[in-house]
């Protein structure tokens, strides 16, 4: 019940295309869903986050879509750029102190 499942494991997108990464969770007590971006040799950096009281949140080219009934959420990267090439992690936490449960990660490669 503590797992967050992420797919796909790797993704190749052409420059200008849309990158879509999906996550699913089981624990309905989760109430905070962030996405982190990690470049090789670096720590994860918060990209965008959503709470379950909204179905969508957009920040620039990045959008989170959230489906509470299906217990799924996804990251959409519009107009993908080579500089977006990185590993993306979804995560979830309960309202008990911010312990994050991470997905397995998606390695995104944007081809010029």
């Amino acid at each position: 019940q503590q797992q967050v499942k992420q797919s796909p494991q790797s993704l190749i997108v052409q420059k200008g295309g849309i990158s879509i990464i999906n996550c699913a969770y089981e624990n309905t007590a989760f109430d905070y869903f962030p996405w982190y971006q990690q470049f090789p040799g670096k720590g994860p950096a918060l990209l965008i986050a959503i709470r379950p009281d909204v179905s969508e949140k957009k920040e620039g080219r990045f959008t989170i879509s959230f489906n509470k009934s299906a217990k799924q959420f996804s990251l959409h990267i519009m107009d993908s750029q080579p500089g977006d090439s990185a590993t993306y992690f979804c995560a979830a936490s309960r309202d008990q102190g911010g312990k994050l449960i991470f997905g397995q990660g998606t390695e995104l490669s944007v081809k010029p």
Binding site: G43, P44, G98, K99, I101, F102, Q104
Partner: protein, 115 residues
């Protein structure tokens, strides 16, 4: 404004040895968590410190211990190192002790190799 800083950045230890990793949280943050990230995996929660006490712990053995100091900085200690402890150890900080949704910032990590 300095973010989360960790030291050392890289280290190599021999199986059976002990290691101490250090973390200074982002300015204004009082809560520190530690995560272990194996190669090709997502970070795994080790434990969290707030007000100098361990508040939450993940599924890690007692060989993993920590400490938080009055200035909110923290140490992660691992005893009796195993080859499987080789990983990137990430420190994360946030602004309040409890309540999800507080933005959690990660450091660059400490790469530990056990040989």
């Amino acid at each position: 404004d300095a973010g989360v800083t960790q030291s050392p950045t890289h280290l190599i230890k021999t199986r059976g040895q002990q290691v101490t990793l250090r973390c200074s949280p982002k300015s204004g943050h009082d809560t520190v968590s530690w995560y272990q990230q194996a190669l090709g995996q997502g970070p795994q929660f080790i434990f969290q410190y707030y007000e100098e006490e361990e508040r939450q712990r993940g599924n890690f053995p007692d060989r993993f211990s920590g400490h938080q100091f009055p200035n909110y900085s923290s140490e992660l200690n691992v005893n009796a190192l195993l080859l499987g402890d080789s990983a990137l150890y990430l420190c994360a900080s946030s602004e309040r002790g409890f309540g999800s949704g507080n933005t959690i910032y990660f450091g660059e990590g400490s790469w530990l190799t056990v040989v």
